[in-house]
């Protein structure tokens, strides 16, 4: 199952597959391992030699955002050091973690003994859907199909820190029979916000509801995002309120559409 490595597709024939490291992130690892596998397969189909990173844990974001920098550093250090052992781009199937790593690690480690290491690693971080968006030709040729309507939810940090919004949509554009409907609230926060969601559960849930209401009013079958944090929040709320839409990661949608 894990063995799919760069090869099936011949579009990059002749070239040796590029090696990429796949950092699952702690949420992906613990709560959405299937999604991480889907991401791994998708990258493999694109001809990349995918090496999952298993020695890291977390990017440190929960503590960083809560103001606990020493704690964030302690945890992120493990990941920085594990990632420093890898080569090639570091693919992260989580928008906000990718933003944390590429945008905040340098500051977090400023003056630290691992500052240089953190800087180098941060410079190699790429978000998952942005990588796929450079292989649209491959996706097109796979005849992916997912019949239904979908809404895409921009995760805040992916949108506003990494400025990635066209990329995931272009990727979804390669899936036939998938009608991507624009949501008025596409770029509105889902209410997760890490510790915010447990500090202020009522407010957080109200934010999720306004998002879900919008998706429902547009009749979408599935709400797609590229950020496990948002998925957990929106999915958890959708499940509790007992009905549609399904809330899934873009990698899982691609998997279901036949990218396996």
């Amino acid at each position: 199952m894990i063995g799919i490595r760069g090869g099936a597709d011949t579009t990059r024939g002749g070239h040796l597959p590029d090696t990429v490291a796949l950092f699952p992130t702690c949420l992906g690892d613990l709560v959405m391992p299937d999604t991480v596998e889907h991401a791994q397969h998708a990258l493999g189909v694109c001809g990349l030699d995918v090496r999952p990173v298993r020695g890291g844990t977390c990017c440190g974001q929960p503590a960083f955002n809560a103001g606990f920098h020493p704690h964030a550093r302690r945890v992120a250090r493990v990941s920085v050091r594990a990632l420093a052992q890898t080569t090639g781009p570091i693919v992260v199937p989580a928008g906000s973690c990718a933003a944390m790593m590429s945008r905040h690690w340098v500051g977090l480690f400023a003056g630290d003994r691992d500052a240089e290491l953190a800087r180098q690693v941060a410079g190699r971080v790429v978000e998952f859907s942005a990588v796929l968006a450079t292989h649209l030709d491959v996706l097109e040729r796979r005849h992916l199909s997912w019949p239904g309507t979908a809404g895409y939810h921009d995760s805040c940090h992916m949108l506003r820190e990494l400025r990635l919004s066209g990329e995931p949509r272009a990727v979804l554009g390669c899936v036939r029979d998938l009608e991507l409907v624009p949501l008025a609230s596409a770029d509105r926060c889902c209410g997760f916000g890490g510790t915010f969601s447990v500090r202020y559960p009522e407010v957080s849930v109200a934010m999720a509801d306004s998002k879900l209401d919008d998706a429902r009013s547009r009749g979408v079958d599935v709400l797609i995002s590229a950020d496990p944090g948002c998925l957990m929040q929106l999915g958890g709320r959708a499940e509790r309120t007992g009905d549609t839409p399904r809330v899934i990661h873009i990698a899982t949608l691609l998997h279901e559409a036949g990218l396996r």
């Binding site: 298993r54 103001g67 805040c156 916000g193 915010f196 999915g235």
Partner: protein, 467 residues
């Protein structure tokens, strides 16, 4: 004054009260969406982002030497025959204004909407002096009649239904007013006109003070600003010291920024540029004009990592796009300023004792940064405030303990694996038994959301040999 909501309740408690108002959660997004949509549409053909950068640059340049800008402003104001007063804090500002009212034998005061006067809680002080005070912005008028507080910087009664407004105005009218927006407005206008005619003193804020010309600039849509500053004998403008801008040319940048970000207008119906009292031979204008320059915690921010918050021009745009504000409105923030700017300003102005909780009341989505007309990095400032709170030891022990435990477990792949394996099992058992609500933070998560159950086989345990 009534008791201070900031010290007598938490954000969560206040938010809960607001969340229980279905109207609020409909009306606030609707109204704020209109402002944002208008901004996008009306400025579509203009380089609004380029303008924002110019605005940021003007504000940064001014704050870099605020004292110099203020000295120039003061000289120019005095040269224009305007009396200038300096107020170190709210009490001093109130005192200046009370004294001016007293010395001019005033009995009636009319006011233009001003956040600075809210900030110094001016009205109760004037009322205590026996003055009759009338707010003349329609929204503020209703707020005043209700003994309420404004809940948005630009739209003070964004939280009220038309039915509520009608009820309030009907009470004043002593008869049932029709349920019609324009008739309600007409009634209020009539009342306010009398107030303008009778007033001795008009009090306003200041959107900007132009240093080079000694001009106080007011941006309004109802025309009440013009009435308040020209009809009464005395005009007092209360201006936060950071609202100074160096030149008229700078104003040409700041004006479309504040009207665009505030109400989505290229220009407001009225822009008043006040450069002194009535001159000799002039038919109207006040006999005397005073400017009270308010510090109240602003100078203390100069040279700190929070200096950029002084760039704020109080346009309210960050509130409009804030997903938290849109759910809970301005009152949940407990003081004068709500939304992202309130979450930053309140602890800086009032101290962390009272306002320290507010920076946590944000999901850090960054929408505020993207819309702020002067590009204040509110998201970074919120992060900085959170960090300072932790570094100062102000975070509660539970939080510190949680951070400690998490860092301990997550900082070694081995511990991480063992702890999450055990923890995952516990969560699965508790979830199956329906006991999640007793699991601390997870229990709080479970209020309204399904707990994400940890996978039996996390990714790290899959295909180990394969790496």
């Amino acid at each position: 004054m009534s008791e201070d909501p900031l010290t007598s309740s938490t954000f969560a408690e206040r938010a809960r009260v607001q969340l229980a108002k279905p109207f609020l959660r409909e009306a606030v997004p609707r109204a704020t969406d209109i402002a944002v949509r208008d901004l996008r549409e009306r400025f579509a053909g203009h380089d609004y982002d380029g303008l924002r950068e110019l605005g940021r640059e003007i504000r940064a340049r001014t704050m870099a030497d605020l004292e110099d800008a203020l000295a120039t402003l003061t000289d120019a104001l005095v040269a224009n025959g305007i009396h200038v007063h300096h107020a170190a804090d709210a009490a001093a500002a109130r005192e200046h204004i009370r004294r001016i009212c007293r010395e001019s034998d005033a009995t009636r005061v009319v006011k233009v909407k001003s956040m600075a006067t809210e900030e110094i809680a001016l009205n109760p002080a004037l009322v205590a002096d026996g003055l009759e005070v009338t707010e003349t912005d329609l929204g503020e008028y209703v707020v005043q009649l209700d003994g309420d507080r404004p809940s948005h910087i630009i739209a003070p009664i964004i939280h009220k239904t038309r039915a509520e407004v009608r009820e309030t105005l009907s009470r004043v009218a002593g008869r049932e007013l029709p349920d019609d927006a324009s008739e309600l407005t007409d009634f209020a206008r009539e009342r306010l006109r009398d107030a303008f005619m009778d007033a001795d003193v008009g009090i306003s804020g200041a959107n900007f003070g132009v240093a080079e010309t000694g001009t106080i600039v007011l941006v309004t849509n109802e025309g009440n600003g013009r009435m308040c500053t020209s009809m009464p004998r005395i005009h007092i403008a209360l201006m936060g010291i950071e609202r100074v801008i160096p030149t008229l040319e700078d104003l040409s940048v700041m004006l479309p920024l504040i009207t665009g970000a505030g109400t989505g207008q290229l220009i407001t119906s009225y822009v008043s540029m006040l450069s002194g009292p009535r001159g000799e031979g002039e038919p109207d204008g006040p006999e005397a004009m005073h400017v009270v320059l308010l510090d109240n915690g602003r100078r203390a921010l100069l040279g700190t990592e929070y200096q950029e918050v002084l760039h704020c021009i109080r346009c309210g745009a960050c509130q409009n796009v804030c997903p938290v504000y849109r759910q809970v409105g301005g009152h949940a923030y407990g003081w004068v300023y709500g939304g992202p700017i309130g979450a930053v300003l309140t602890p800086l102005f009032l101290g962390t004792e009272a306002g320290g909780e507010l920076p946590q009341a944000s999901s850090l989505c960054g929408a505020c940064d993207d819309i702020c007309p002067v590009k204040i990095p509110l998201h970074d400032l919120l992060l900085q405030l959170r960090r300072t709170r932790v570094d100062d030891g102000a975070a509660p022990w539970r939080e510190r303990l949680a951070a400690e435990l998490w860092a301990w477990a997550w900082s070694s792949p081995r511990r991480y694996r063992v702890v999450t394996r055990i923890g995952g099992g516990v969560v699965r058992v508790m979830a199956a038994a329906g006991l999640m609500s007793s699991l601390g933070p997870l229990g709080r998560w479970a209020r309204g959301r399904t707990i994400p159950t940890p996978a039996r086989r996390p990714f790290h345990s899959r295909g180990e040999r394969d790496v």
